[in-house]
């Protein structure tokens, strides 16, 4: 490349919980994404830099990090959109323990998906007729609205309530639970409502909406959580919730 190519000044978090920002100079390119910048640093300037990515096309949800303080998916974030004065600051996602550099330990994020019973359980075998779910039914539309989550943890990193209450399930797990609450084939609705209720669940949400603003897939976890609040409170008032601890 030519010596006169415009350069990007990139501060990258190095180390674990205790660490510091290290500055690199990266040449600007056309249509350059933030992930391209990180890859350039790792492949050309400093092979000890750790970061995650897989698909590079916004499907896998593994390349999320904080870019100039804001959690984003880096493979679909163009440098021109986020680099003020040709500067970038890259840090690992917030609200998750740092493993090294830009890599966080995602275990708690995915464990919370389990705690919210975020997996489908039906009662039909392959030998039975497939369930008929009307695409235009209200429940199916609710499920559709939240189903495209790629598990990137951008919402989790952006949520103040997660920072204040470490036991809060977070927007992604609650959004996932809401899609299943609206899945008429699922048989774990009642235990799921129990799992997502209370101060560790949907009722701790302040409806600040950071998750919805930041979600790269333009989902609205805030609306999903509001739905869970409504349904759980109603179920409790009607006595439809098991009031002793279940086995889940």
């Amino acid at each position: 490349m030519s010596a006169s190519a415009p350069m990007l000044r990139v501060e990258v978090w190095r180390g674990g919980e205790e660490g510091r920002f290290q500055t690199y100079e990266v040449p600007r390119r056309t249509s350059q994404t933030v992930l391209d910048v990180v890859t350039y640093i790792q492949q050309t300037l400093d092979s000890t830099l750790s970061y995650r990515y897989a698909c590079r096309v916004g499907m896998c949800g593994s390349c999320a990090m904080r870019v100039n303080g804001v959690a984003r998916w880096t493979c679909r974030t163009h440098v021109t959109r986020v680099a003020d004065d040709d500067r970038l600051q890259l840090a690992p996602l917030a609200n998750l323990p740092i493993v090294k550099d830009l890599v966080t330990d995602m275990a708690e994020f995915f464990n919370k998906n389990d705690r919210a019973l975020g997996r489908f359980r039906g009662n039909r075998s392959r030998h039975e007729r497939m369930a008929q779910v009307r695409p235009d039914s209200p429940a199916r539309r609710e499920a559709d609205a939240g189903i495209e989550c790629i598990g990137c943890a951008v919402c989790y990193s952006s949520c103040d309530v997660v920072a204040w209450r470490p036991d809060f399930l977070g927007p992604a797990a609650l959004n996932r639970a809401w899609t299943l609450v609206n899945d008429e084939r699922d048989i774990e609705r009642a235990p799921r409502l129990v799992a997502v209720a209370g101060d560790g669940g949907c009722h701790a949400c302040h409806t600040q909406g950071s998750c919805t603003v930041r979600c790269p897939k333009h989902l609205t976890p805030t609306a999903s959580i509001a739905g869970l609040k409504r349904v759980t409170a109603r179920a409790l008032l009607r006595g439809e919730m098991p009031t002793t601890e279940g086995n889940s």
């Binding site: 309530v161 560790g200 409170a233 009031t243």
Partner: protein, 118 residues
């Protein structure tokens, strides 16, 4: 569901229900205040209107109850989230605040309804 989770959900909807009712109460209260000071603001004039008024006492008595429930639940959440207090301590403090608001508020309502002029 664990009993404490049931309590958490109940606290959540009681705070919402009290908020909804209080929006009406606050409106009535504001209109009442603007009306009340039209003829000047004096203790005598106000007490002449409130003393013996059952309607006034009921309205503000209920208002005090709503405020006590709503504010104490919110305060408890703030103590957990911002002051990092454990749930038990936060709830104890918020219940004491609820009691204080209730006693002070109801005593004030009683004083201007049933009390005599100094």
């Amino acid at each position: 569901m664990k009993p404490q989770v049931v309590q958490q959900v109940r606290r959540w909807y009681w705070q919402r229900i009290t908020a909804m009712i209080m929006t009406l109460f606050v409106l009535v209260h504001l209109v009442l205040m603007i009306h009340a000071i039209k003829g000047g603001l004096s203790a005598g004039e106000i007490l002449a209107r409130t003393q013996g008024s059952v309607l006034w006492a009921l309205f503000y008595g209920l208002f005090v109850v709503l405020v006590s429930v709503h504010a104490s639940i919110g305060l408890g959440n703030i103590l957990v989230e911002w002051a990092r207090l454990p749930q038990g301590s936060a709830r104890l403090i918020s219940n004491l605040v609820a009691l204080a608001l209730l006693v002070l508020g109801l005593r004030a309502v009683w004083a201007v309804t049933c009390g005599s002029m100094p």
